[in-house]
Each structure stands twice: as structure tokens, then as C-alpha cells.
């Protein structure tokens, strides 16, 4: 009986020590802990942070966002603009017209450009030129799911004050 009590005491002490050790992590390394995903924003979320981007895209047409990243006066009174065109994933932006002839380069995503009646497949790195006054459509259908199509346009527009 005496031994049983002492055994129980030792067992209890061992358990207590073990629990302290595990619970407090007293100076010991703790394993990698669970870091579950954070909850998603609600569809009607309005609690936006005060962060404001320096040069955000602005809506420039149906399914199309646009922003100017550079502008300068070039030789011969030509204005050179760098524009980023952002086509929403899985969408098509029609009737895009630029203020002058342009060279375009796909920076991300995949899709199709239709310039007049000439369709051309697009992938990251594709470059192509657009004549002045052309109307084009850009379709985003990225091979990498849900990555937007971003096209940088070097536009050579008629001159004027930048």
C-alpha cells in the first residue's frame, strides 16, 4: 500500500513535470505551429485599410483597367507614353483605341488580341505593334488560371505638354 502511494506520487509528479514542460515551453524549442489560412473577405466587405497605392489602375472600359507609368516628350514633337492595360481574368475588353501608334508587350497572363480581323495568340513576352487609329480587343484566358492579362503599351502620341 505504501509503495502504491509513493508510486502514484511519483507518477503524478512525472505527469505534472511533463505537462509543465509541454505547456510552458520553458526555454525549449516548440515545433512548427499550425498557421491556418485567414478568413476570406466577405463579398460586401467595406472595411478597407487606409493603404492607397501610388499609381493605381483606373477603369478605362468594360473589363479593362489602365494606368500611365511614364510620359515624356520625344523627338519631333512626339509624346511617348507607357501605359499598362489590365484585362480582367477570363474577360474580353473590346474597342480599345490608343492615342497613337504603339508597340505592346504582354507582361503577364495569356490570351488573344484581335486587331481588325487578325487574331493573334498572346503569352507572356509576346510583342506586337498597333497602327494609329486601330481598334483592338484583348481577351484574357490565361493558361495559368486566374492571372490577369497585363499589356504594356509604348504609345507614340501626337505632341503637346506632358
Amino acid at each position: 500500500m505504501k509503495h502504491r502511494i509513493r508510486g502514484s506520487t511519483y507518477t503524478a509528479a512525472a505527469l505534472a513535470a511533463g505537462i509543465i514542460f509541454l505547456q510552458t515551453g520553458c526555454g525549449g524549442e516548440q515545433g512548427d505551429e499550425e498557421t491556418p489560412l485567414l478568413p476570406e473577405a466577405r463579398p460586401d466587405e467595406t472595411n478597407f485599410s487606409p493603404f492607397t497605392p501610388r499609381n493605381p489602375y483606373k477603369e478605362a472600359g468594360t473589363n479593362l483597367l489602365e494606368r500611365k507609368v511614364f510620359q515624356a516628350l520625344g523627338p519631333g514633337g512626339i509624346k511617348i507614353e507607357l501605359l499598362d492595360l489590365f484585362v480582367l481574368p477570363g474577360k474580353t475588353a473590346d474597342h480599345i483605341s490608343l492615342p497613337g501608334p504603339a508597340v505592346l508587350e504582354v507582361l503577364s497572363g495569356e490570351g488573344k488580341i484581335t486587331n481588325g480581323d487578325k487574331p493573334q495568340e498572346l503569352r507572356t513576352g509576346t510583342t506586337f505593334s498597333i497602327a494609329q487609329g486601330a481598334s483592338l480587343s484583348l481577351e484574357s484566358r490565361s493558361g495559368v488560371p486566374l492571372v490577369p492579362l497585363v499589356v504594356r503599351a509604348r504609345v507614340f502620341a501626337p505632341g503637346g505638354s506632358p
Binding site: 508510486g7 509528479a13 515551453g25 516548440q30 512548427d32 485599410s49 508587350e105 490577369p148
Partner: protein, 537 residues
């Protein structure tokens, strides 16, 4: 069973219980009495940058009272480009002036400095890594003695221009235990001279060896990257381990090797500078797993091919973590792209931002740019979260947009849940080092800035965020919300709260990491000051 045997069995059982009880109690007491420490750069050999012990620094309520307790600045101070480590009540750090200091953790008083005579400097002074001691130290035991090991230049060998050596000191007295032979040689500054250096690489102590990465002073041209192993017992070079990055030059190791169990990981710099064509052996611009005994390459992930090498060194080191999707190695390259790789076989888990390159690497003509941009600082890992300074979703359109941002990424999540949160940290943008390496304590992130601030940020798991923002910083919120509902990578993500933004008194830019030790933070700046801050227990 006979009664006698039963009695013996019961006695043995009781005996075992007693032994176990005493052992468990001793373990608990030892664990509780063991001083909390940050014994090496990025805290552990996996370079996770995570204080694994819960303390006031992991309590968002207690972080609010974090305050500076002491400041130390040595005589003749230059910048601190190494980071402090803390072990057994002592802070250890090397300065750009070429001296290595041991400080009292509680008071900041100098315990000893090494050397007492000629400082450890090289003849090169063209890059912060060339000034004095830029290698953060590691605490260890050498032949039973508490010791501290670091790398630095020493003009006593070779051409007397400051060959790189590993140095082990008695942690208590600062006495020299051993100095390795030259592991980085400097023979001059000509094109064909050697100008290797240890630079920012911090030693990794792993399986009785000390591993150190070798890069170069000032490029012009770049040197052949190496990992050298010396024996922990006496500092002699272990020639059974041999790793060089290329067959000519390039692939410098600008960071600290990482180790987990038997696996050794490094990342390497570029190869194109000084080569007329791609070296036959080219382990540059890669994250690599090396055999810890031989240095043989087990696998290599090299997303940027030689043809696109415009100097996007892989300057941030590898971070190895065990996650719900297995053991992974994560890091980001100077071009802003982050990569997560299966540590076992080397397969790519993901690229961030994603694109065709996630499966096939970057290709000439794919429109991506891989230049000398400044995503150089190692990240941190907290469970399945990787945290660092990287380019972000708009890397392709805005090369420098991520310099003052911290991205937290869910390592094992589907592509469209990769971004956990983004925080713009108050710092001066532009090139250079706007933010130091972040350290984390159970979801609370500590980072130094180039304005001399220590900024403390809370993962939304531990404190409410300040609202939602877009995972692509340039996309307006209404559009972002719509895209998120469609399942796009462009979606609303939390903008975590800043718990504390402390202007450290008289501080200049902060280059190194915060060391988180119990309820204390140790951080050093480039004007030559070490700060200790403390939160109430």
C-alpha cells in the same frame, strides 16, 4: 507467474516510474532554467527567424510597452552590418571597425572585445560586406567550452590583404580557441587576382562542422562561389567536403547556409559577370541542396538561365521549414520572385508571382526582367507562413514596388490563397536596403527600417488587421473584390496592424535582423549602435 516474480516485476515498474519521474522533473527544471537565446543568425540552423518560445514579444498587448533599455556604441564605431546574437546572458556582434564584442545582455556593458590589437579588416572597402566583420556569429560549444564562431578578414595571412578566416572564441573570456586557415583568399584587385570574401555569410554549425559561404569583394569580376567546411573541434579545413559553384567564376554565396536534419541548403549569386560564355558547370542563380558530407549537389533549382542573367543574385538565403505540405525550402531572388521548393527532391512547389515560369523557368523572350534589383534580405517562417521582402504580384510591372513591403505567403495554400497579407512598412523607398530581415515571434513580426525604426506588425491571427487591401497593390479595391470572388489571385487580403513603430534614438539605417530573446529585442544599426528593447514580462 510466481508471486516472487510478480514482486520483482512490480519493483522494477516502480523503479522505472521513479527514474522517469526524476528524469522528467529534471528536464522540466533544466528547460525552465535554460536561458532564452537567439544563438545564431535567423535563430536556428533552418534560418527560420522565429522565436519559438512564447513571451511578451508574442503578446500583442505587451508589445505596446516595448521600450529601449540600453544602447551600446563602441569606440571608433563603423556600421553594424552583422546582426547580434544572444546566448547565455551575452550579446555577440562584430562591427565594421574590425572588432568583435561581447556585451552583458542585461546592461549592454562590454565584457570583452576581440582582437585587442590590430582589427580584422581587409584592403577592400567598396561594399558594406567588405567593412570589418559583416558575418553574424553563432554560439556553440568547442571541446566542451562555451564558444562563439564568426567569419572575418585577417591580414596576418597570405598577401596580408585580408583573407577570410573563421574564428572561434571562448564565449566567457574572448580568448582565441582556434582560427581556421584562410577560407577566402585575397591576392589583389586585378582581374585575375583572387578577391574572395566571407562577407555577410554567417557560419552554420551542423554535424560537428562549421560551414561558411564565400562570395567576393566588389565583383569586378565575380569570384567562384564556395562553401567551405571546417572541423568544429579545431578549425582545420575538412577537405572531404568540397563545393564550388562553377567551373570558372560566379555563383557567390552571399548568404548563410541553412541546415535541417541531414540536409544542407544554399543559394547562389550570378555567373555572367566576367565570363565570356556560360561555364560548363553552372550552379549560379540557384537554390541548392548539398550533401553535408561531400558537398555534392543533390538538386539544383535555377529559374533564371544564363541568357537572362542580368545580375539577379540569389542573395537572400534559403529557409527550410516543415509544413503541412512537407519539408520546403523557400527564398526570394534579387529580381523579386519568391520560390518554394520541395526540400527532398527539389521540385518546384510554386513561384510567386506565378506564371509559365513556375513550371518551365524563365525563358528568353518571356518579357520578364532579372536584373540587379534589391530583394536581398532573407525571409522568416512561422509554421506554414513564409514572410519576406519580395516583388509581389505586380513585380512584372513595377520592379521596385515591393522594397518597402512585407509579404506573408501561405506556403501550402492553393495559388489564389498564396498571399496571406501585405504590409507597407514606413521606410524610405528606392534602391538599397529599405527593410532588414524580418524576425517573428508566434505571429508578431519585427523588422528594422532604413529610417532607424523598429516596426512591429501583427499577423491577423493574433491581432485584428487595419482592414482589407488588394493582393495586387495597383488594383483598385472594388475591382479587386470582384476578382477575388471569381477566384483570382488578385483578391482582398488583410492589411495587418502596426502594433508599435519605435524610432530608435539616434539610429541610422538598420541592416540586420532583430534578435528576439524572451521579452527582449536586440537590434543594431549602420551608425554603429546596438539597442536592447524590453517589454514588460
Amino acid at each position: 507467474m510466481p508471486a516472487e516474480a510478480k514482486g520483482e516485476s512490480a519493483m522494477m515498474r516502480r523503479g522505472c516510474i521513479r527514474v522517469f519521474a526524476v528524469f522528467a522533473a529534471c528536464c522540466a527544471l533544466m528547460a525552465c532554467s535554460k536561458p532564452k537565446s537567439w544563438p545564431m543568425f535567423r535563430h536556428n540552423t533552418a534560418r527560420a527567424g522565429h522565436q519559438s518560445v512564447k513571451s511578451s514579444l508574442s503578446d500583442p498587448m505587451k508589445v505596446a510597452n516595448l521600450k529601449v533599455v540600453w544602447t551600446f556604441s563602441p569606440a571608433g564605431a563603423q556600421g553594424f552590418y552583422s546582426s547580434p546574437i544572444v546566448h547565455d546572458g551575452r550579446v555577440f556582434i562584430g562591427n565594421g571597425n574590425g572588432f568583435f564584442y561581447a556585451l552583458n545582455e542585461r546592461t549592454g556593458a562590454v565584457l570583452w572585445q576581440y582582437p585587442t590589437g590590430t582589427p580584422l579588416t581587409s584592403s577592400f572597402m567598396c561594399n558594406p560586406s567588405s567593412f570589418g566583420i559583416a558575418s553574424s556569429a553563432v554560439a556553440t560549444r568547442v571541446n566542451g567550452k562555451e564558444a562563439v564562431v564568426f567569419g572575418g578578414p585577417d591580414r596576418s595571412s597570405g598577401a596580408h590583404l585580408g583573407d577570410g578566416h573563421l574564428i572561434a572564441l571562448d564565449a566567457e573570456t574572448g580568448a582565441l580557441l582556434w582560427e581556421s586557415p584562410a577560407v577566402a583568399q585575397v591576392t589583389g584587385s586585378g582581374f585575375n587576382d583572387l578577391h574572395e570574401q566571407i562577407g555577410y555569410s554567417s557560419p552554420l554549425i551542423f554535424h560537428d562542422r562549421v560551414y561558411i559561404g564565400i562570395a567576393d569583394h566588389c565583383d569586378n569580376p565575380i569570384q567562384n562561389g564556395k562553401v567551405v567546411a571546417v572541423r568544429l573541434s579545431d578549425g582545420t579545413i575538412d577537405t572531404s567536403f568540397n563545393y564550388v559553384s562553377t567551373s570558372t567564376r560566379g555563383g557567390g554565396i552571399w548568404n548563410s547556409p541553412a541546415g535541417k536534419d541531414d540536409d544542407l541548403f544554399v543559394t547562389t549569386g550570378n555567373t555572367r559577370n566576367g565570363n565570356v560564355s556560360q561555364p560548363a558547370v553552372n550552379h549560379g542563380l540557384s537554390v541548392l541542396r548539398l550533401n553535408k558530407d561531400t558537398g555534392n549537389v543533390v538538386w539544383q533549382h535555377q529559374p533564371v538561365p544564363y541568357a537572362l542573367d542580368d545580375d539577379p543574385d540569389w542573395a537572400a538565403g534559403a529557409v527550410a521549414t516543415d509544413t503541412s505540405c512537407g519539408r520546403v525550402v523557400t527564398s526570394q531572388q534579387k529580381d523579386g520572385w519568391a520560390w518554394s521548393v520541395d526540400a527532398g527532391a527539389g521540385g518546384v512547389l510554386w513561384a510567386f508571382p506565378t506564371g509559365p515560369w513556375a513550371t518551365s523557368g524563365f525563358q528568353p523572350g518571356d518579357g520578364t526582367v532579372h536584373g540587379d534589383t534589391d530583394y536581398k534580405r532573407p525571409g522568416a517562417a512561422w509554421g506554414g507562413v513564409y514572410l519576406g521582402v519580395m516583388g509581389g504580384l505586380d513585380t512584372t510591372t513595377n520592379l521596385s514596388g515591393g522594397y518597402t513591403q512585407l509579404h506573408a505567403l501561405n506556403v501550402c495554400a492553393p495559388e489564389n490563397r498564396r498571399v496571406r497579407w501585405i504590409k507597407d512598412v514606413p521606410a524610405t523607398g528606392g534602391f538599397g536596403y529599405p527593410l532588414g530581415p524580418p524576425s517573428i515571434s508566434h505571429g508578431i513580426v519585427y523588422v528594422g527600417t532604413n529610417e532607424g525604426h523598429l516596426v512591429v506588425i501583427a499577423d491577423p491571427k493574433v491581432a485584428p488587421s487595419s482592414g482589407w487591401r488588394c493582393s495586387d497593390p495597383s488594383v483598385p479595391l472594388p475591382t479587386c473584390a470582384i476578382l477575388g470572388s471569381l477566384g483570382s489571385v488578385v483578391r482582398l487580403v488583410p492589411d495587418p496592424a502596426i502594433l508599435k513603430d519605435i524610432a530608435l534614438p539616434g539610429a541610422s539605417a538598420i541592416f540586420g535582423e532583430p534578435a528576439l530573446v524572451g521579452n527582449r529585442v536586440f537590434i543594431a544599426d549602420t551608425s554603429g549602435k546596438v539597442f536592447m528593447l524590453e517589454a514588460d514580462p
